[in-house]
């Protein structure tokens, strides 16, 4: 999947530790992100936000002149963009508070650079997926904007459920998605007892996207656990 367009997103980085800012900056720049703005306090962050109009914010929770949670709320009033908390507060309550406020992710220090860049990538892809071009599979392409599959020059429409299931798989392309998450994506909050229906839908999706539906190359079963969508270039 082509993610080069995401590297140009404007990222606001807030942490009171100068050295940590340096490090996170270097990690993100190494990954290819070009527009990074740093801030050490709530005041600086608000100024930078007004100035930069960020498309992603990475916030620490403990700041010298306030806390990250209230900063988060102020930022959200200024513009709607994803926020990732990156903090030393590892308590579950803090995590729930952050996610409960509507943050897109919550990472606890210390962390591996790889984890940070992966999570940032996921958040950006999810938030700016409208710009996502066609998804290339082994035997077909999926056009999520039109909710259809392009196979051998033919346009095959996707049903609502098939669309939900495929989006969930595509968001985690190359990774296993559990049966439960897929049921939840398609049927909502109480997804128990839909396993057989899910299997039926998967069969129909395979007929649409696979060259040989009985020997799937793109939508792979992981026995007992879930399914995996293999996307070209991933």
């Amino acid at each position: 999947m082509d993610t080069e367009y995401l590297k140009g997103k404007r990222i606001l980085l807030v942490d009171d530790e100068e050295e940590l800012l340096d490090m996170v900056c270097s990690i993100l720049m190494e990954e290819g992100y070009r527009h990074i703005q740093r801030a050490g306090t709530v005041r600086e962050a608000l100024e930078a936000a007004a100035d930069l109009q960020p498309e992603l914010a990475i916030l620490d929770v403990m700041l010298p002149d306030g806390d990250g949670f209230s900063l988060f709320e102020k930022l959200k009033q200024m513009g709607d963009y994803p926020v990732l908390f990156l903090t030393a507060r590892g308590e579950d309550e803090d995590k729930f508070k952050g996610l409960g406020l509507g943050a897109d992710d919550y990472m606890v220090k210390p962390f591996l650079p790889k984890e940070l860049t992966l999570r940032v990538g996921v958040i950006l892809r999810r938030s700016y997926k409208n710009e996502t071009p066609l998804v290339r599979l082994a035997g077909s392409q999926i056009d999520f904007q039109r909710a259809e599959v392009l196979k051998e020059g033919e346009h095959i429409p996707l049903t609502a459920k098939e669309f939900e299931i495929l989006s969930a798989l595509c968001r985690n392309a190359g990774k296993i998605v559990t049966i439960d998450s897929l049921c939840e994506a398609a049927w909502g909050d109480n997804p128990f007892g839909y396993e057989n229906s899910l299997m039926a839908h998967i069969r129909r999706i395979r007929e649409k996207i696979e060259k040989d539906p009985s020997h799937p190359a793109s939508l792979v079963t992981v026995k007992g656990l879930g399914y995996k969508l293999m996307v070209e270039g991933k």
Partner: protein, 466 residues
């Protein structure tokens, strides 16, 4: 009050036993004393024997020497009063001088039920005549007017029964009244001590017979509560301290880890240098895990309970945990197999999903850590009648019996109140056990059929979903 009732029952039974035992004891004493008097034989029998043993000879009457001897032994004498004349026609040699030798009919009636000159006398008939055996003064007491109303004799047995029953009733009443008083004051004390043993506060009103004991119990309760408060304060302080340290260490560790990871990937460094950076990185990751574990273990140990309990499908949760690991294991060094049967239901448990996921993650990580060469990890969820269980096992190196024994029995150094010098094992399994326990479940370690190590965590099923 259950105990008080038990006490009451015991007291009543005890009283009944006493009531039964006392008469038996009395009878035994009476018997053992009277047996020696009974040996003398009845004086009436003696008179009868003399009457029959007295033979009439030409020169008068003669008593067999044997009878003479037994009379002498008892210190008794005998005489024969002729009917009609009232004259004494025969008597033993030792007849006291004051005994008259002639008797009227009324004299005979009187000696029959009483005495002659204070000698107790016992008659027996010999043909028409009367043989009288006399015993020394004050050797016998005779009941001189032995007559009762026939009606009285007839109602005597029921009357006795009524009297005995009434007695028993009165005794029970007295017992109950006194015991109830005692029980009334014992009851609260028993309750109080029960509360103390459960670690709750006990306060007993200082009233009744046992007010001093009540006071001591109250004081004990106060001391215990004060100690508990102190202990809780210390435990909270300790948990907070651990939380604080683990927080403060995170930011510096981030930088160690972050830069080390960058250096490990840096193209400007030699292979050797990159390897060193890689070691720093993986070791700082170990430190990170240790901090997380330490914090959680201390929270689970001291006063913290799982906060976010809800109905969770164990099957779904385990599936997600396994998939998370599979998605992370890029090299495919640790393949995982999902052995849960297709017919296993969702297995709802009332639990903190994050904690359970953490427990399973710890177990999977544990298998990985102990098998650096790689191994297959098997995950099985099963449902029993009232519980469900997760088994995580591997086909790796496994453990020795001694190690298993140690894992089962030796206290972890964190929980140990002695100085530990031996090898310290990680917090991973300890946390799993703690998590199982705070959810009312248990953890068992053992050998896997697949050849490696196996851990089984059993949890109670959520009640409302069955």
């Amino acid at each position: 009050m259950k105990n008080a009732l038990k006490l009451l029952r015991r007291l009543v039974v005890g009283m009944f036993l006493v009531c039964l035992l006392l008469p038996v004891l009395d009878l035994i004493i009476l018997f053992s004393f009277t047996v020696k008097y009974a040996g003398n034989g009845s004086p009436y029998t003696m008179a009868e024997e003399v009457a029959s043993g007295l033979s009439e000879t030409e020169s008068g009457y003669a008593l067999s020497p044997q009878l003479q001897e037994s009379l002498a032994e008892a210190g008794a004498w005998a005489m024969l009063i002729q009917s009609g004349t009232g004259q004494v026609v025969w008597h033993t040699e030792d007849l006291p001088a004051e005994i008259p030798l002639s008797y009227s009919a009324s004299d005979i009636a009187s000696l029959t039920r009483g005495y002659v000159q204070d000698y107790p006398t016992f008659p027996a008939s010999r043909g028409g005549d009367v043989v009288v055996a006399g015993y020394p003064k004050e050797s016998f007491w005779k009941h001189m007017y032995p007559s009762w109303d026939r009606g009285l004799i007839e109602i005597l047995p029921p009357l006795a029964a009524v009297i005995i029953l009434a007695d028993i009733g009165v005794v029970i009443l007295i017992y109950l009244v006194t015991d109830m008083k005692l029980l009334k004051s014992v009851g609260p004390i028993v309750d109080g001590i029960e509360k103390l043993s459960k670690g709750r506060t006990a306060y007993i009103r200082k009233k009744g017979l046992l007010s001093e004991i009540a006071q001591s119990v109250n004081k004990t309760s106060e001391i215990l509560q004060a100690r508990n408060r102190e202990l809780r304060k210390k435990e909270t302080a300790r948990a907070n301290w651990i939380a604080g340290v683990s927080h403060d260490i995170r930011t510096p560790l981030s930088m160690v880890m972050g830069y080390a990871a960058q250096l490990a990937d840096s193209p400007h460094l030699s292979g050797e240098e990159r390897k060193k950076a890689q070691v720093i990185c993986s070791q700082s990751q170990r430190m990170k895990n240790l901090i997380n574990d330490l914090n959680l273990a201390s929270k689970l140990e001291y006063n913290m309970q799982p906060v976010d309990r809800e109905s969770v499908s164990l099957v779904s949760l385990m599936r997600r945990t396994v998939v998370d690991f599979l998605n992370m294991d890029a090299e495919g060094k640790y393949p995982m197999e999902w052995l849960t049967g297709k017919d296993v239901p969702a297995c709802f448990v009332y639990a903190d999903a994050a904690l359970l996921s953490r427990a399973a993650g710890n177990l999977i990580q544990n298998s990985m850590n102990h098998n650096p060469e790689g191994c297959t990890i098997y995950v099985t969820v099963e449902q029993q009648e009232t519980t469900c269980s997760v088994t995580i096992e591997d086909d790796g190196a496994g453990v020795t019996e001694e190690k298993l024994e140690e894992l089962d029995n030796a206290p972890h150094y964190m929980m140990c109140d002695e100085n530990v010098t031996g090898q310290r094992h990680g917090l991973g399994l300890l946390i799993v056990r703690q998590i199982a326990q705070v959810h009312g479940g248990r953890m068992d370690v053992g050998h896997s059929e697949k050849g490696g190590f196996a851990v089984r965590v059993e949890l109670p099923l959520a009640a409302e979903r069955g």
